[in-house]
């Protein structure tokens, strides 16, 4: 095929990659579910130690950034380059705020001697150790995805500035957007699992 704008084909490729990401996090959620089944009391106790307000704020930040990414695609297709760039920059900013919140959240936990291999966790009940182990693995892996997503959004911004992405050719932006939405999807499950278990 000589044409480089086979939009459906490009999107199918991206979706195939997203499936592998869904299974990756799905596996971790199964791990969480099985240990929750085994140590329900410790998990509830652990969940109460996480700040649900910060969790909710981070959820809202990611939801808004997802909206602005989706709107930036609409903007570029309506030939509104400036608006599209502004929306993408705002999304990257949201990602940054999310990471800063995470930094303070993790920092507070470190301060209370709760981190992998800390004395409190090693000498405490096994369920508590597993809960916070999973907390660090899953939110850490998700944080890594946020960083990758922000990088992809920055690439899109550069491509739009160079007029490589425009109303007639926006598949790159769309795929970067799909990745960012995936980051949001994962967080929508992480939030109730860790912060809202009662």
């Amino acid at each position: 095929m000589k044409s480089s704008n086979d939009f459906t084909g490009i999107r199918i490729g991206m979706w195939l990659f997203l499936y592998s990401e869904i299974i990756l996090f799905g596996g971790l959620f199964v791990l969480y579910a099985v240990y929750f089944h085994r140590y329900p009391d410790e998990f509830v106790e652990g969940g109460k130690q996480l700040n649900r307000i910060i969790g909710a704020i981070n959820t809202i930040i990611l939801l808004i950034s997802s909206f602005t990414v989706a709107a930036s695609i609409t903007a570029i297709r309506l030939q509104n380059k400036k608006l599209s760039l502004g929306l993408l920059t705002f999304s990257i900013f949201c990602g940054l705020v999310f990471l800063i919140n995470k930094y303070f959240e993790w920092g507070a936990k470190f301060h209370h001697d709760i981190y992998p291999n800390s004395d409190t966790l090693v000498s405490g009940p096994p369920g508590q150790n597993i809960f916070f182990g999973l907390y660090y693995v899953i939110t850490g892996l998700h944080g890594l995805h946020v960083i990758i997503g922000m990088t992809l959004l920055m690439v899109s911004v550069v491509l739009i500035l160079r007029n490589k992405v425009h109303a007639g050719r926006f598949a790159v932006l769309e795929n970067c957007g799909l990745y960012w939405h995936l980051v949001d999807l994962i967080w929508i499950f992480v939030f109730p699992l860790f912060y809202l278990v009662l």
């Binding site: 195939l16 799905g26 089944h37 909710a56 990414v69 989706a70 609409t74 939405h181 999807l185 109730p192």
Partner: protein, 94 residues
Amino acid sequence: MSQEPQHLMSYTKLASVLFALLILTGVTVGVSYIDMGIYNVPVALGIACFKVSLVLLFFMHLKYEGRAIIVSFLSTVCFLAIMISFTFWDVAFR
């Protein structure tokens, strides 16, 4: 083969989806303060599934995709469901 124009999402539609998502976030946080015993987890996950569906259908425009993406996506979800349910069969009746 002619290039089929892809569905264009309007700003207002995207904004109303965002509004619904924010409301649902508020609901899920509010509900978490009520102790419903074993029903807390299913309720929280039910709301999460609903939110995820909204993101998938509108932000990721799965609603307007062709058959290839929809079928492959549903297969992935089925695979995940099998993975979760079989693991639980093992764990619950061990």
